[in-house]
Symmetry: C2
Subunit: 229 residues, 2 copies
DNA sequence: TGTACATCAGTGAACGCGCGTTCACTGATGTAC
DNA sequence: TGTACATCAGTGAACGCGCGTTCACTGATGTAC
């Protein structure tokens, strides 16, 4: 079969490849991603993909970066729907946005926070600038509470070496952060992630997960935010 | 090559196959498990495995059941190292045992609580009796606190339909459980799982995870157990 | 004690599938003179 | 305006690999009479 003429070509083939890859991941999970499968769906031969991505791993990296960007965007939208001074509301909104994104795109969530793909090593230096943006949302809420003197910091563990290293990376990316804010942000993240990932692995029903998430967000606010005047 | 004679055969081939499978999973992750790979390591041909397991999926199911058994054993050992009346100590011990098992056998942990293997559907009826045993450990600690009137139950969400269903299954397996105890057990589980799974996916260093786990176990005790006389 | 037979635990060839990647190539489109 | 050339976006064949599973078979071991 001859190559299609210019006006029959897909205008944004690189984008179409990624989109098809997401469909494939949604259907068979991340390990099921295959260049030949993508080519079949796009009515193209597999080698044609090499005009856009030099290898399968590079395609995966592009997908990971896109997923982080979409995730960060969702968190930021939730975060922005509530005024800055309302820490409690922002925590709830960010938590809700986090949950919603995860159940809307379960496979992307697993790709980012689940176990590594076999044989794929994520290139941190390429991904970090984007992945940091989502973490920054949580951190900014905690930092705002701290600045207002409403952060309950008692008993929070001291940062260890790797935490300080990550803070260095945050600073380098223009997100100045105090250790205690990062630690509390990670604690919040871990609680939400625990519930979400139990739902995604089928150990929790959607209804139960929502109810528990609501409870945990209240717990988080009670534990880390001073109430009242 | 002829088949080896009786006295050169592996005495427990079914066990040897599982053991080799675990080695493979430890090296390449669960999706990398392959009958041909196992056969190579055991110096037999792939079809020989069919004398012991009727298909790849049946082997996976046997592995899942073994993993749950090993996990439950670890939790029970931790649990039993502290007297029954010491709820706080038991929560700490069970949490520590949970973490230790997960980092000792990260791939088994992912197999049980991570995303499903592509193309493999876990047969719940075969696995439930074993998987329940680990959940029962957590539940028993919470239930003991409740019986002693030391359980703080305020604000815990009401059980939904799927929770009640699971309680039915627990009762059928001889583990009578009150809804509130199960809900709190799940909350504890989710917090520990959140931290553990962030460490396993490389988002948390081991040292940081340990420190945060310690903090979270204290949070759990503060939140759910009445202190003092 | 000997013999016929069943069973057990394997072998080796084959089927049909999928994969990432390389290679030489082609023909339409765009560009420079 | 025409022509030579470069580039772009593909094709199709092939390489070499891995996989689960089936099939007919074999030869040692165990068992019944």
């Amino acid at each position: 079969m001859p190559r299609p003429k210019r006006d029959q070509q897909v205008p944004d083939m690189a984008g179409a490849i990624k989109e098809t890859a997401w469909h494939q991941i949604a259907e068979d999970g991340a390990p099921g991603l295959s260049l030949r499968g993508i080519a079949r769906k796009l009515d193209i031969t597999a080698p044609a993909i090499y005009n856009y991505y030099p290898s399968r791993d590079d395609l995966v990296t592009a997908l990971v970066i896109d997923a982080y960007a979409s995730f960060a965007e969702a968190l930021i939208a939730g975060h922005d729907s509530v005024p800055e001074s309302d820490f409690e509301g922002r925590i709830r909104a960010a938590g809700g946005a986090y949950y919603q994104w995860a159940v809307d795109y379960p496979q992307r969530y697993q790709l980012l926070f689940g176990p590594a793909l076999p044989g794929y090593k994520i290139p941190l230096d390429e991904v970090l600038p984007t992945s940091t943006r989502s973490m920054a949302v949580l951190i900014s809420i905690v930092a705002a509470a701290k600045k207002a003197g409403k952060l309950q910091e008692h008993g929070i563990p001291e940062p260890d070496e790797s935490t300080l290293e990550y803070i260095g990376a945050l600073n380098a990316l223009g997100i100045p952060t105090q250790p205690v804010s990062l630690t509390i942000a990670v604690l919040i993240w871990s609680r939400v992630h625990g519930l979400v990932s139990l739902e995604l692995s089928g150990n929790l029903s959607s209804a139960e997960c929502k109810a528990l998430l609501d409870y945990e967000l209240r717990s988080i606010i009670n534990q880390f935010i001073y109430r009242g005047e």
